[in-house]
């Protein structure tokens, strides 16, 4: 069995706990994180609109900040999971990247991403909703506040 575990910064612990509880011991696990390119695009665009100012390389480049935090998040998730896993850090439109990464996986596991206090359709934001609707195979959806392990 090949399982894709989609890790999001705010809900990673519940997602990893779900993976530890529900995935069979022999499953091939991939931990995926997608950095939305929007924040960098906006920050860079705002800078480009400052016409006439000299462009000096920023001390801490925006990409480096995001890459480092994504790597750290995936490393923490793997340590919490406590088993072998492929780490996949991507950048782009989140929902598209998740579906692209799902490829031949038998299962996608992720957390609800909106109102986590009440059951119902509002517990899914547009990104998670898209992944749920477009998932090619089975989906396992966990609640972010209720670690099952």
């Amino acid at each position: 069995m090949r399982a894709l575990v989609w890790i999001v910064a705010e809900t990673w612990q519940a997602t990893v706990a779900g993976a530890a509880t529900f995935l069979p011991a022999g499953a091939d696990v991939t931990l995926l994180h997608v950095t939305a390119s929007d924040a960098q695009t906006v920050a860079r665009g705002a800078r480009d609109a400052l016409l006439g100012r000299p462009h000096r390389p920023a001390a801490n480049s925006l990409d480096a900040i995001s890459e480092q935090s994504a790597r750290q998040l995936l490393a923490d998730a793997q340590a919490a999971l406590g088993r072998e896993a492929v780490l996949d850090a991507r950048c782009g439109r989140i929902e598209h990247e998740v579906i692209a990464a799902a490829g031949t996986a038998d299962l996608i596991l992720f957390a609800r991403d909106k109102d986590h206090t009440h059951p119902g359709p509002r517990s899914l934001g547009p990104t998670a909703r898209y992944v749920l609707d477009h998932a090619p195979r089975a989906v396992l959806l966990v609640w972010p506040d209720a670690p099952s392990a």
């Binding site: 705010e10 809900t11 920050a43 665009g45 006439g52 000299p54 001390a59 900040i65 995001s66 109102d115």
Partner: protein, 417 residues
């Protein structure tokens, strides 16, 4: 030379300067294009030497003021002000996305008001991104907020935006009167941003808390805070005593730069780089080019479409046209073109134009249609494809913020602020 030809030449000079500023060819700095275009317009007689000298002379104190503010911001960076603000936001948020956004609003607005738009974009944005990712919170709401507030919170003081600085003397207002008239418009713009952004990012803001920040001993940037506090107090006191704010800014820049030179935490080269001489030249060249275009018929054309008077509909019209022009040609040329014409109707009309050129750039990605088109044409790098979200957010905030801020300006004038 017929006026139509000189106008065409002036507009071509403006277009070439803006194109160089957007495309940034390595071999042709935009300051060189701006100065060459200005000199060319003088050479062909599109603008007389006297008029060019007058336009440059009019801009000179503003450019000195700008230079002082650049040194002040660089001193604050050197003293660790922006890292300290990042730590403060991380601790204060307790990992909660909505609390972090509220702190980002407070910090981005304050930095913009006190140090201006540039430091918020260049120095604060990476700190905001790093703070959110460190707390394991989605950074989008916070980065969008910083980018938007750099524009919408830049209404308050003459120093908050270069556009304000460029027309401050044209308004004839004192520093404190300018601030008093712009207080309500600024608060209105920030309130609209909060209302729209919190709705727009409801999913991200409703998520459970991220990490708590580790509570390391906070670094207090004493020099930066002292100098900024004293400079602001100086602006207010100077306004009452009739001291020109440019001298207060120069004193603040000296107070934060000289200790660094003495302690050798900065070299003379660092100070010159912080002054951004090419940028100062760019502004000077742009001023002469716009004066040439205005004198050769652009002013007449703008006068025909710009409403006169300071009634509420007139002020709303001025703000809307200014916002539109800022999106077409960037806000610096826009305010240089509009301010002298608006000034005929009095300071309230100039302030309405400022509301337009400061808030307006949030409407289109990167603040300018020209920027967008050029980026797309010249460097179609894949990162620029997700424009939908920024544009939708701009469409939701800009018209409402323009209307609310202009209404507040009109009310302020009516109650005699």
């Amino acid at each position: 030379m017929p006026e139509a030809l000189t106008l065409a030449l002036s507009l071509a000079g403006l277009a070439a300067t803006l194109a160089a500023a957007v495309a940034r060819p390595r071999w042709l700095p935009e300051a060189v294009v701006a100065v060459a275009a200005a000199a060319g317009l003088v050479a062909v007689g599109a603008v007389t030497v006297d008029r060019a000298r007058q336009a440059a002379g009019h801009l000179a104190p503003t450019i000195g003021f700008l230079a002082a503010l650049l040194l002040l911001a660089d001193g604050c960076r050197r003293d660790g002000l922006f890292e300290a603000l990042g730590d403060m936001m991380a601790r204060g948020s307790r990992g909660r996305p909505r609390r972090l956004l509220a702190l980002v609003f407070a910090v981005a607005s304050s930095v913009t008001v006190v140090l201006g738009l540039d430091p918020t974009i260049v120095l604060l944005t990476p700190i905001v991104l790093a703070t959110a990712t460190r707390l394991r919170i989605s950074p989008e709401p916070d980065v969008y907020a910083t980018a938007h507030l750099a524009n919408s919170a830049s209404l308050l003081l003459p120093i908050s935006n270069l556009t304000n600085l460029l027309v401050f003397t044209v308004t004839g207002l004192s520093f404190t009167r300018f601030a008093a008239l712009m207080l309500l418009p600024t608060l209105a713009a920030i309130a609209v941003e909060w209302a729209v952004l919190t709705r727009f990012f409801a999913a991200e803001l409703g998520r459970p808390p991220g990490h708590q920040a580790a509570s390391a001993a906070p670094h207090l940037p004493r020099l930066a805070l002292t100098v900024l506090g004293a400079t602001l107090a100086g602006f207010l006191a100077g306004s009452l005593l009739g001291i020109s704010p440019v001298w207060i800014a120069a004193a603040g820049a000296t107070a934060i730069t000289v200790p660094a030179l003495v302690r050798r935490t900065a070299t003379a080269g660092d100070v010159v780089r912080a002054l951004q001489p090419s940028f100062l030249l760019f502004v000077l060249g742009l001023g002469v080019i716009v004066a040439a275009a205005s004198d050769n018929g652009l002013a007449t054309a703008v006068r025909m479409v710009l409403p006169g008077g300071t009634s509420l509909p007139a002020l709303l019209g001025i703000a809307a046209i200014s916002a539109l022009l800022a999106n077409l040609v960037n806000n610096l040329p826009a305010i240089l073109i509009i301010a002298p014409i608006a000034a005929a109707s009095g300071p309230a009309a100039v302030l309405a134009a400022l509301i337009g050129v400061n808030v307006g750039p949030n409407l289109t990605y990167a603040g300018s249609l020209a920027t967008l088109l050029w980026r797309r044409l010249l460097r179609a790098d894949g990162t620029d494809v997700h424009l939908g979200e920024f544009t939708r957010l701009g469409a939701a905030t800009v018209p409402a913020a323009l209307a609310a801020s202009t209404l507040m300006l009109w009310s302020g004038v009516r109650i005699g602020l």
